[in-house]
């Protein structure tokens, strides 16, 4: 049993965007409408607290598409559990996922 964290609305929104979006900083900014100065420090905090983990894309994949490699973020098990409890706490979060899912 992992101890779930109680997140602020903004942190829960970013966690949700990491989960439902493409998993990199700019996609979180686009999904949430939050500025980079809010999104990146929040993602560092979520990573420090073990809710998300980051991984660099393989250089060969980026080279094949002639672009720089990206750093992707994924939810950990603790992050999944925290997101579920946050969705119960902030029901509007689920609507965000539905809207973004409909757009893509």
């Amino acid at each position: 049993m992992v101890a779930e964290q109680k997140l602020s609305h903004t942190a829960a929104l970013i966690l949700m965007a990491v989960h439902t979006g493409d998993g990199y900083g700019f996609s979180v900014m686009e999904m949430t409408g939050l500025p980079s100065g809010t999104v990146y420090p929040a993602m560092r905090r979520l990573e420090r607290d073990g809710l998300i983990r980051s991984q660099w894309e393989r250089q060969s994949i980026a080279d094949a598409e002639q672009r720089p490699p990206r750093k992707y973020y994924k939810l950990t098990r603790l992050g999944q559990a925290t997101l579920e409890s946050s969705q119960r706490r902030y029901p509007l979060l689920a609507k965000l996922a539905a809207v973004e899912g409909g757009q893509s």
Binding site: S36, G37, Y40, R67, P68
Partner: protein
Amino acid sequence: MRIHLAMLRSAAWLVPGEQRAEWLAEWSAELWYVRQSGDRQTTSFCLGSFRDAFWLRRNRPSDAPPVPWLESPSQCLGFLGLLASVCVLLALRHHQPDMKLPVTGPILAMLYMAMMALPALPALTSLRLGEYPANRNGWRWAFFAGKIALLLPIVFLGVLDLAAMIGLKIHAGPIHCILVGNVAAFRWALIDQRRRCPECLRLLAHPARIGMPSQTFLEWYGTEFVCVKGHGLLHVPEIPTASFRTQSWMHLDRSWSGLFL
């Protein structure tokens, strides 16, 4: 593009050295994608990097080993004493008899400048040294007083030596530098004192983060340091709360000694 990369490189100086290259690679890659997406907010995107870099600087894990020449109280006082001696020797060599000081006499002027720096100190760091057992209080205060007594001539004479070496007469500039230097020295002395074992006065090591922000009301969260000699643990709360106002020391008795060298 160049100006935006220059902004990211400037912000990178705030990032702790061991994370800087990866941080810059991430932000540079993201900048490339922001530009590809045709987003016109590139400048505000880059400005956000300063906030991210500042967050990393503030929250850097302080797991670096203690500086060897400051670790034990004798090493610390010896190092400061050496610096103070160098400053005194340089002051004797570069003595400028026509220097105008705010108070007559170098010792009085040094104390006057120290007093002038004190009001600014509470704005920069907490004046509390933490909750410690009452035993060996005298040693702790003697060590603290020793550090201050050595820092004052280092700052005062160091700035005057530097001013004399580059040919500056004493006007407002060096006086301001002494004030700023004194504030920085007092701040360092307080922070250093808070990071020492109250029993052997060695710098504490092996910081470990404990708890989570959501536990603030029922538990504490923050950083725990350990004395390498096994005297105890120091709990430093991330945010002072009603139940955990300041850092507190937990003494470990002899039964724990098997865990330490």
